[in-house]
């Protein structure tokens, strides 16, 4: 068994996006290192580099001090590195036993999989979590039939089934209940005694302090701090994760928060529940820019999409006091809703079609039959110039535009319909700084015009700079509503992590 793994100055790009620019990590046998960082800080990339799923672009991996290279998951596995993947690496159609032993099936003399041994060993592994299963979990049940927490446990068992020396737990506790988490932590303690090392990636502060011996903090792809967990507290950790105040070229209107109280309520949701969301309630005023915060994937997308009629939900949604329940986005559009989705290439735009086609897509109906093409073009050109869209011409494909300009097309296509409620899913992601500033001005203008805006952003400074009120989502619920004095970066990050007390003021 190996004794230590060191990650030195790791660099990893995905296309033009730098996921890791200077990642460092040291892990020794018999210890648990918590890998901590905000959204997009590079935690998942770091684990993928260590387990060979992503090939690094620069830097070094040292196993017991010797440089190693993991070009494939197989090589990392041979070196005794196991991963519990956040997205799970299970084959739904295959059984629990088949999944756990895939590529390491015990064979008989004829080269056949020895099912008896496989099942017996699987039952042994399942016994580790005995009593925490909701269903009658056996080795020959197909994984597709299991609830999320049991799938997660199978993923964990799969990782430890080949007795690795290093286990990477990437958000392994996210779908487990408290009993299962406790059992996992008991096991982690045992593994430590057996000489294993554990890298623990989690969003939950409480768990980090419960199980970790050391910490390593990533910020924007750089390792910015590491040390013993007992030398640090929650507040200090949060501080490390926060960037120094970046200078943003925007300021919101002064003292708007008091006016909002008297304004009428435009959008109201009560106990909104989907397959994922667990009862979300909020009120948004007319002309309010309501922020939605929290780590990525805590239900923000589901919230915005269900309001837009794109996901089925239960609960009540009221628009100016009148109950609405959209079954599809078209109904939502007719009531003046607009959605700027998080994945603009996939959901927001027809990438190979022209800018004109994209801008007019939701509005063709208004140009009659036969189409008044000239009028439509004129309106599209107006929208384009009002958004300061930089393009070679309206007939150019959207794929020719930069990220920021492509996002302007997404927003522009909705503005042409004069929407009343705008739902924005991280609209400034992958947008250049100059365009961001334009967006901020646009958002302010729109809210002054009386449009209600729900604004999810993965950049906390945007929420603080632009919004008066921010709802922080955590584990598919609203963790807290921050407004006025409580709306600080520290509180925002602490709430995102589900921390018990507030962060630094």
């Amino acid at each position: 068994m190996a004794e230590s793994l060191s990650v030195r100055n790791i660099v990893k790009h995905y296309g033009g996006v730098v996921a890791l620019s200077d990642g460092n990590l040291d892990v020794q046998a018999r210890e648990v290192v918590a890998l901590i960082g905000a959204n997009g800080s590079g935690k998942s990339t770091m684990s993928k580099v260590i387990n060979g799923v992503a090939v690094l672009d620069g830097g070094q991996l040292l196993l017991d001090g010797n440089p190693v290279h993991f070009p494939s998951p197989q090589t990392a596995k041979n070196a005794g590195i196991a991963t519990v993947f956040q997205e799970l690496s299970l084959i739904p159609q295959m059984t629990v036993a088949e999944n756990i032993w895939l590529t390491r099936e015990p064979l008989n003399a004829l080269g056949q999989v020895d099912r008896k041994t496989v099942n017996a060993r699987t039952e042994e592994l399942l016994a580790l979590f005995k009593g925490t299963f909701k269903t009658d979990l056996h080795s020959d049940v197909p994984v597709a039939a299991l609830p999320p927490d049991e799938k997660q446990i199978i993923e964990i068992l799969k990782a430890i089934s080949f007795d690795p020396w290093l286990v990477i737990l990437d958000e392994a506790t996210a779908s487990l209940d408290s009993r299962q988490v406790q059992r996992l932590f008991d096991l982690v303690t045992q593994w430590k005694e057996q000489g294993k090392a554990i890298i623990f990636v989690s969003h939950r502060m409480e768990e980090i302090f419960r199980i970790a011996d050391k910490y390593s903090v990533l910020r924007n792809g750089r390792t910015v701090g590491a040390g013993n967990i007992k030398d640090i507290n929650e507040k200090q950790l949060v501080k490390l994760m926060i960037e120094k105040e970046s200078v943003l070229g925007f300021l919101r209107g002064e003292a708007r928060s008091d006016e909002n109280v008297e304004k009428e309520i435009a959008l109201e949701a009560e106990n909104l529940t989907t397959e994922y969301l667990q009862g979300v309630s909020f009120k948004a005023h007319k002309g309010e820019l309501l922020g939605i915060g929290g780590l990525r994937g805590q239900g923000q997308r589901q919230l915005l999409h269900s309001l837009f009629g794109d996901l089925p939900y239960s609960g009540t949604v009221k628009l100016f006091g009148q109950e609405v329940h959209f079954k599809n986005p078209r109904e939502a559009m007719r009531k003046g809703f607009a959605l700027v989705p998080g994945d603009r290439a996939k959901e927001g735009l027809l990438y190979i079609r022209s800018i004109l086609d994209n801008l007019l897509l939701p509005s063709w109906r208004r140009y009659g039959l036969p189409l008044k093409v000239d009028k439509a073009k004129k309106n599209a050109a107006q929208t384009g110039s009002s958004l300061n869209l930089k393009m070679a011409g309206l007939e150019e494909p959207v794929s020719s535009l930069s990220g920021g300009n492509a996002q302007k097309v997404v927003i522009g296509k909705w503005l042409m319909r004069e929407p009343q409620v705008l739902l924005l899913d991280d609209p400034t992601k992958g947008v250049d700084v100059g365009t961001k500033a334009e967006f901020y001005a646009l958002l302010n203008r729109l809210s002054e015009e009386g449009k209600t805006i729900l604004f999810y952003s993965s950049a906390d400074e945007e929420l603080i700079g632009l919004c008066d009120r921010v709802l922080v989502l955590h584990d598919a619920r609203i963790r807290i509503e921050l407004a006025g004095k409580t709306l600080t970066r520290g509180n925002l990050i602490a709430a995102s992590l589900g921390a018990s007390n507030g962060g630094p003021e």
Binding site: S89, E98, L102, T103, Q112, V113
Partner: protein, 322 residues
């Protein structure tokens, strides 16, 4: 998600649907053709079914691995034209053996070409094999522009009239195939096949050699297509560059009837073998019942459309209910 009773049954016994279809069509056929289980009739049926059974087995492996092979019929045509032109009516036993082995090599090579493009260059399976099917079919036309050529009568008779233990030769071929499958599916390779077809990305993260497994499925399919071409040649005794083309759709239909998911990772080979026999029987029924032959195409197409639509329809009803 909880599997409903039906889903659980379908997951455990994917070939059940094929068995029901086979039984049903057998009964109808038996009514129309009471002597169908007589030795001669059974043999004359089975020898016609065998080429499509062989194609379906190869297709089943590819589909299990998450791909599809549109070129199997063209490969079979290719082999057919090579054998019919090279061996000739007066061919010696040495020539026969030599060209039969050459045919198998052609099948392996054609499958390897498909596999290279799809597994290593990561091209779309359906587009790639559609394109290469023209390559293989075109080559067959080049070798034998007009139907003709031939093989020695003894070689044809060996295939047509052999009935060891009073059973059709095809039964023994099927038995061998099923035994090989039974073994293969219990090996590590079998597990890899299901894993790659089920969720290739997860399989990769689990260190399954995804590319090599994908490649291998097309090679197997090419080899099975070559066997099918050999059987076709011995059945017809002559060559025809268009003989295999229409069989491609049949091979896919057989796999679908056999209970394999077109998306991969579910099913086996036993189901598709039954599916191929069912298809042959449907053909019989149509000819005996004196129905216009276009019904045959209609029935096959309807089966595929139904199989493709079934999961969607089930989901639609589920959504309605909630």
């Amino acid at each position: 998600m909880k599997l409903s009773g039906w889903d659980a049954l379908a997951a455990r016994q994917p070939a059940l649907f094929a068995l029901v279809m086979l039984g049903l069509s057998l009964v109808i056929n038996l009514i129309l053709q009471p002597n169908m289980f007589a030795r001669e009739t059974l043999n004359s049926n089975m020898r016609v079914f065998l080429p499509i059974i062989l194609l379906a087995v190869g297709q089943a492996i590819v589909i299990l691995g998450g791909g599809i092979d549109i070129s199997v019929g063209a490969i079979a045509s290719n082999v057919n034209t090579v054998l019919a032109t090279r061996i000739g009516l007066e061919g010696s036993p040495e020539a026969i053996w030599g060209f039969v082995f050459l045919s198998l090599g052609i099948g392996l090579l054609a499958g390897a070409i498909n596999g290279f493009f799809i597994a290593y260059l990561r091209l779309q399976p359906i587009i790639t094999t559609y394109a290469t099917s023209f390559l293989y079919a075109g080559l067959a036309l080049f070798i034998l522009p007009n139907p003709g050529g031939g093989i020695p009568a003894s070689m044809a008779a060996l295939y047509r009239n052999s009935t060891p233990f009073n059973l059709p030769l095809a039964f023994f071929v099927i038995l061998i195939i099923l035994l090989i499958w039974l073994y293969l599916s219990s090996t590590r390779y079998g597990k890899f096949l299901y894993a790659v077809g089920g969720k290739a990305e997860a399989a990769y993260e689990t260190a399954v050699p995804v590319t090599r497994v994908q490649f291998s499925t097309y090679v197997i399919s090419g080899l099975m297509a070559a066997f099918s071409g050999i059987a076709l040649t011995m059945l017809s005794g002559s060559g025809n560059a268009d003989i295999g083309g229409p069989m491609t759709l049949n091979s896919i239909t057989a796999v679908v009837i056999g209970g394999n998911a077109l998306s991969g990772g579910v099913g086996g080979v036993t189901g598709p073998v039954m599916g191929a026999i069912t298809l042959g029987i449907i053909q019989n029924i149509i000819s005996f019942a004196d129905i216009d032959t276009w019904w045959e195409t209609f029935v096959k197409a309807a089966i595929i459309v139904m199989a493709l639509a079934a999961p969607g329809i089930v989901n639609l009803f589920r959504r309605r209910r909630t």
